[in-house]
Structure formats: C-alpha cells, structure tokens
Amino acid sequence: MSSLDDWRNVATASLGLPDKRLLDVVKLVEQAPDRGRVCEVLDRIRPRLVRLRPPRALTVQRLLFRPVEDLFDPVERYRAKIGRLSRQIVQPCWTIIRALVAPPLLRRTDERLRTIDILDPNEVFATGLPLWQTAAEQLSTFLATDAGIGRCQVGTEQVTITEDVRQQLLNIAEILALATEVETVKLHLSERPIGSLSQVDIDLLSTIISRLAADSTRKVQTFVLVLLARMARPGDLLQVLADMALPCSSAEHAGLFKAVGSNALAALTYEAQDLRQQRNKVTDPISGAETAEHLVTRLMSFERTLGGLRDRTVTEQIHSARRDIGTFVLDTVVAKANQELFQTLAPPQGPATRTGPAEPTVEQVEKAEKCALSLRRCARVTEAIGLRREMEQRLAIICAELERQAHPAGAEADEPLQSRQMIRSARLIELLAGPDEAQRMLTAQLPGRNPAP
C-alpha cells in the first residue's frame, strides 16, 4: 500500500467499522513507518477517535510533543499568528529534532518508554523531561543560528522553512523550555477540559506564574496560552492572571493580559467561523450540539473576563463568534436534527405486516429521542447567545408537527397502535418543550381521559 489514494481508502473504509474493529485498524496503521500517510488516515477518523479515547501507544515522537499537544489545530482550521500550531508542523519539527538531538538520548528514551507504565503520568514526566529540555535548547540554537527562510539542510535531511513554520518552531521551542512547568500543572490539575479551578489549583498556578514573570513576561504568555487551551471556561484562568500581583509594571501586566486573552479569543473566533462554514460536513446533530455548547461556554467566560477591557477588537471578535455559533446552531444543527428526527420516525415504505402497519423499531425511536435531546442542547446554546426567540419558533414548528403526527393515518381502528404513536410523540414533545406541554398534548388527544394532577 503506497499511494495516497490507498491510505484514503483505508480511512474511508474504517469509518464504517464498529468501534472495536476501528481501534484494531488504528493499532495496525500506527505501526506503519510512513508517518505522513498515517496522519492522513488518523485525521479522517479523528472525530470518532476523540469519542472512543483509545489508549494510544506512546512513542518518542508523541512524548516529545506532549507539552504542546493542546495547541494543535487541524490543518484546515489552522491560522497563523495567534500562538496556535498546525498538525502539519509535526513532521518537519520531528525531522529537525531527530537530526539535532544526540541519538543515545533518543534511544534511551525509546527503551524507557517500552518499560514504564505509560498510564502513570509521573513516570512519563520523568522519561520526557531530559528529551524536552535538550530538544528546546537544540531547537532554539538551530533557529537562532542555522535556519533561514527557504530549504534548509538538517543533518542528512532537507526541510522547507517558511515564515510561519519558523514562528511555529519558535513557539514549540519556547513551550518545550517550559515543559517542567506545563507538565507539573497538568499532573496536578484535573483532566482536559478543566471544569473549575480550586483554591489549591489557583495557588499552584500563581506560584508558577510569579516565578516565570520574574524571568520574562513572554514566558508567562506562553505558559498561560497552553493552559487556556485546556480550560472549559478559559476566562477563569485569565481572571487568575488579572487578579495576581506580578513582579512587573502594571502596564506590562495589562499588556500581558490583553495579549494572552486576545490570542485565545482569536483562536475561538476562528473555530466558530470554521464551524459555520462546515455546514454540509455536520453528519451528527448530537456532536454538533455538543461542540456548539462547549464553544459557547468558552465564549461566555471570555466575555465575562475580557468585556471589562472595553476593547473594540475584542467586542467585535465576541460578536462575530456569537453570530457564527448562532448561524451554525440554527441553520446546521437544528436543521439536521429536525430532518433526522422526522426521517427516523417516518413510517417505513412497503406493505403493512400481518400484525398491522409497520412501526419504528426501538433503535429508531431512540435515535429520534437523541435528536430531540440535541435540540434541547441547542436551545441552551441559543438562550446563552440571545437567540431564544428564533429557537423557540423552530421548536414550536417541530412540536406542532409531532402533535399532528400523533394521529397516524389508517390507525383509527387500531387503538394500541394509536396509543403507542401518541406516547412516542408525547415523549419527544416532553424532551423539546417540557413535561407540561407533553401532558397537555396527551390530555387533548385522549378525550375523556382524566388529566394527571
């Protein structure tokens, strides 16, 4: 298997496999020597891998990029100059570091990785530290002395360095130099996304940030930018930074806060923009609603913290992100969920069975209920960004259609069928508009039935 098409076929074919088989394929693909092609396959199935969270084998390369992994963006979403990294940087960066770092260190690290428990973060930290420190030093020296823009000879290999690649490599070198701090914080704080910061967390962060600030504010900026990517509500961390007493002038402190905040907000704005543009790529309303919800949580926290700056750019960025998320939710997720909900419940084509007209299966009803739940999530999102009325209008239309469908054609004589259909509709209305509305519908549809108290 050598052509790119072959690898793409693997990716496309794997997407149809059940979870367990998909993980088997990932294991096999990861053993292939051609990293570029492997990434091609993995990028395509990444959305599913994110949900499955397979325990991945830890290679030297993966260990090297551990401190910077939170900043990686998919190639199509990557934007320069906001402190983020493109997944495409992995290959040239690894080529350079493999050429610069002494082979014995790489060999030793590889051997240790085979013996340690890779699920133990302390052992991984101890194994990675010498590699991160050496790589940071070598990469900075290389960028300061040898690397110009254009094709560049590193050991026996050639790497093309553009302005942007150079900037990304610089960022990586800076983060690797702070690997001790970054990885220590990761060890102590909860898993990504970090929901909230306890006082103990804040104390630890304050100590580290103060120490870094005594060196340079640039280090603080790098450190905070990495951590912001791990937060569910990044504004909380920005607030910690704003509230701290730093060993620098207040103008420098304010500049640092603004620089970090606007970089992180810009990344979110681009993410929202991409989401809006992806409208035809969204296949699953449930994950679509989930993504929108996470994005809005992050946006709201930025709004709370950065709103006080009264900066025009920040305000515009926040507004544009709101608009993009709103468009994505209303035009893409809601439309998709609506379409899937009714498609799933549509009576199957074909002759009625011996026991009566065909009915949706348990799995189909569950799928429809999941669509309704994702619409409920969308309602939470739209409420937060001020699109409540628009969402209510859409939900009202869906509920009215469900109520209309509660009486299936040809089911007048079949009372149990009618009752099942009514309850299916009532449950969906309950998920969309609440139990009161569902009860009203049920009572209205069953004349003579005593309403529940």
Binding site: V365, E369, I423, R427, E430, L431, G434, P435, Q439, A452
Partner: protein
C-alpha cells in the same frame, strides 16, 4: 393514619417505611410512598431531594408545585391512585404497565412487556406444577399423562377424573379446587415452588442480596474508613434481609409442600401464605434498584464506587423496627455513627429544569429491570 414522624432512619413498620416507587425524575429517585388506607391520602418520603441528611415528606400536590416531574411520573402517579396501590406487588405491576406503554422510553417499554409476559408464563407454570402435585395425591403418575399428551381427549378425561377423585378425598367441592389452585399459584408465583425449574423473582432477588453484600465488602477493603463503614453497613443490612427472607420463604415452602392439608383447611393456610408473601415483598422492596446500581458500579473506578456507596446510602431498604427482633442494639448504634459521617454533595436540582441525562440514566435502569 400515617405516622407523622420516623424515628431516626429506621421506620417503625411497613406503612411508615412506605413503598419504593420507580420514578424517573432525578429528585424523586426511589421515593417511598406512604398511604393512609382510610382516607387514601398519599405522601412521599424523598431521600434524594436536598442531597443533605434527612428526608422530605411531601404530598403529590406539593411535589408538583415544587419539582418539575417527568411525564412518566405523572402518569405513574395517576395509575397508582386509580389502582389503589397499597403494597409492593401491586406497585410493581402498575410500574411495569406504565413502562410498557413507552413512557419511560422504548427500551424500558420492551423490557417491561417482556417481564409482564414472562411473569404470566411463570404463573401458568406454577399452576401446572401444583396440578401435577395434586395428581400424585390421586395416584395418577404425571409422566403417564404427559406421555399420552396432555391435550388429547383421553388424557383430559383422565385428568378430570383424577381431579374429581382428589376433590372427593380432600372433601373440597370440585369447582372450588381449581379456583383455589389458581389463587394459590397467583399468590406464590413471585417466589415460585421449591421444585420449579427456575426460582421466582423474589427468591432470585433474595439470593442476589448475598452477592451484593459479598461485592460491597470486597470493595470496602481499600476504601477510606468513613466510606468503608457505610459499605459495611449496607452489606450487613443485605445479609440481614437475606436471612429474614430465606426464613420466610422456607415457611411458604413448608405450606405448599403439604398441599393436601392446605387445600383442606383453605382459609387458614391461604391467609398465612398471603401474609408471608406480602412480608417478603415488603422486605425486598427497593432492593432491585439498589442491586442494579451496584452491579453497574462493578465496572467502574474505585472513586466512582465510593460515590455509589455514599450516594445510595439513603436509599437502603432497612427493615422496620417491628420486623427486627433480630437486629442488635450494637447495629443500631453503628447506624447512628454512620449517619453522622454521611455527607453528600448537593445535587443540581434547584435549576428547576429537568436534567434529562439523569432521567435517561433512570430510564436505563428501568430497561434493566428484572
């Protein structure tokens, strides 16, 4: 009259403890319904409302005024009232019928229908086994009857003759005989006959208690002391319940073994068995939910298991005092110690909106009902 006050955590009798209701609204999880027979007034003991120690006791009207309940729960309550539910057996039947309509989701509906069907079959099987037992009394070997095919005209004729013979011997009117057998099988089907190929539902549940206590004790070894205490107490109550129910079941089995004597002095024996079966149902009421939650926890992390032990402590079906001549003072004092240590995080019930993810977890548990 509903007793107004529960003495500490342990109720004085069954009426005071109430019947566990399989609601799907998170704040009403396993609420216990207490009912005054005279006025038909219902009130609910809510252990998981505030997340704190202690209970809320509320009539349905107040629940509706203060908590958003699911459509399923509204219909369930309506059916509870309509059917005059006053014991756990009736409660289970009504719960299954409401779930079978699909109000707790499609999966729970399928499961509830399966259970209702299989229980109907099990009752038929129990009737059949009782008839076979009777035939032995008439010296008609059941094997012979089965070999001929029970549906053939000849076999039916012999069966009728044999039952007539038994009725004469027992001095019971022949028509009454079959009515009594039907009534008896309906009553004891939840336990099953001792020689039935499969045990009845309550017998299985009673056996599960031992597995429950074994599992919980296994987990508590490595847990912090305060959680280990709670776990140990839960396991202890499971063992105690198993001991009491095993004894009660033996009493029922002794009665059904002596079928002839029983059919003869019908009123006395039937009432006795009815009392014992009801006792069993009350004793095991609420355990099926707890066992299901703990079975799920087996595949989870240690931290999650600790949370399961602590969070479900308030749902523990402790037998009431009038059933507990066996419980020692020492156990009661342990209870007061663990009660003091028990601290739960507040749940997010105040937002007023239903947390449908949690509702779905409750519905999932319904789909695993046995």
């Amino acid at each position: 009259m509903i007793p107004q006050k529960m003495t500490g955590r342990v109720a004085n009798n069954w009426i005071e403890r109430g019947i566990a209701v399989f609601f799907t609204t998170p704040a009403l999880t396993q609420a216990r319904m207490r009912r005054d027979d005279a006025s038909k007034r219902c009130e609910f003991v809510l252990p998981s409302l505030s997340g704190g120690k202690g209970y809320y006791v509320m009539p349905w009207k107040s629940i509706m005024a203060s908590i958003t309940t699911t459509l399923h729960d509204r219909v369930l309550f309506e059916q509870i009232q309509k059917n005059d539910v006053d014991d756990p057996i009736k409660m289970r039947h009504v719960t299954l019928e409401v779930a079978a309509k699909g109000l707790a989701g499609p999966r729970a509906a399928r499961k509830a229908q399966e259970i209702l069907d299989s229980e109907k079959h099990y009752q038929l099987l129990t009737t059949f086994l009782l008839v076979l037992q009777l035939l032995k009394l008439a010296d008609l070997p059941p094997n012979e009857l089965i070999a001929q095919g029970i549906a053939t005209a000849n076999a039916q004729k012999r069966l009728k003759a044999a039952l007539k013979d038994v009725a004469v011997r027992l001095n019971v009117p022949q028509d009454d005989l079959y009515v009594r057998i039907e009534a008896l099988s309906l009553l004891i089907a939840p336990i099953g006959l001792p020689h039935a190929p499969e045990p009845g539902r309550l017998r299985l549940l009673s056996d599960d208690l031992l597995q429950f206590s074994g599992n919980v004790r296994g987990w508590t070894h490595r847990m912090p002391e305060e959680i280990a205490h709670l776990g140990e107490f839960e396991a202890g109550i499971a063992d105690l319940t198993n001991r009491i129910t095993t004894k009660t079941m033996q009493k029922v089995f002794q009665q059904t073994e002596a079928l002839a004597a029983m059919l003869n002095a019908w009123e006395k024996h039937f009432n006795l068995i009815r009392h014992e079966v009801r006792q069993l149902a009350w004793m095991l009421d609420g355990w099926d939910y707890l066992i299901s939650v703990f079975q799920d926890a087996a595949g989870k992390t240690e931290r999650e298991r600790e949370a399961v032990i602590a969070d479900n402590f308030s749902l523990l079906p402790i037998p009431p005092k009038d059933q507990l001549e066996i419980i020692s003072d020492q156990q009661m004092s342990t209870l007061s110690v663990v009660q003091k240590r028990w601290v739960r995080a507040n749940e997010d019930w105040r937002s007023g909106l239903l947390d449908y993810e949690q509702v779905q977890r409750n519905e999932g548990r319904k789909a695993e009902m046995r």
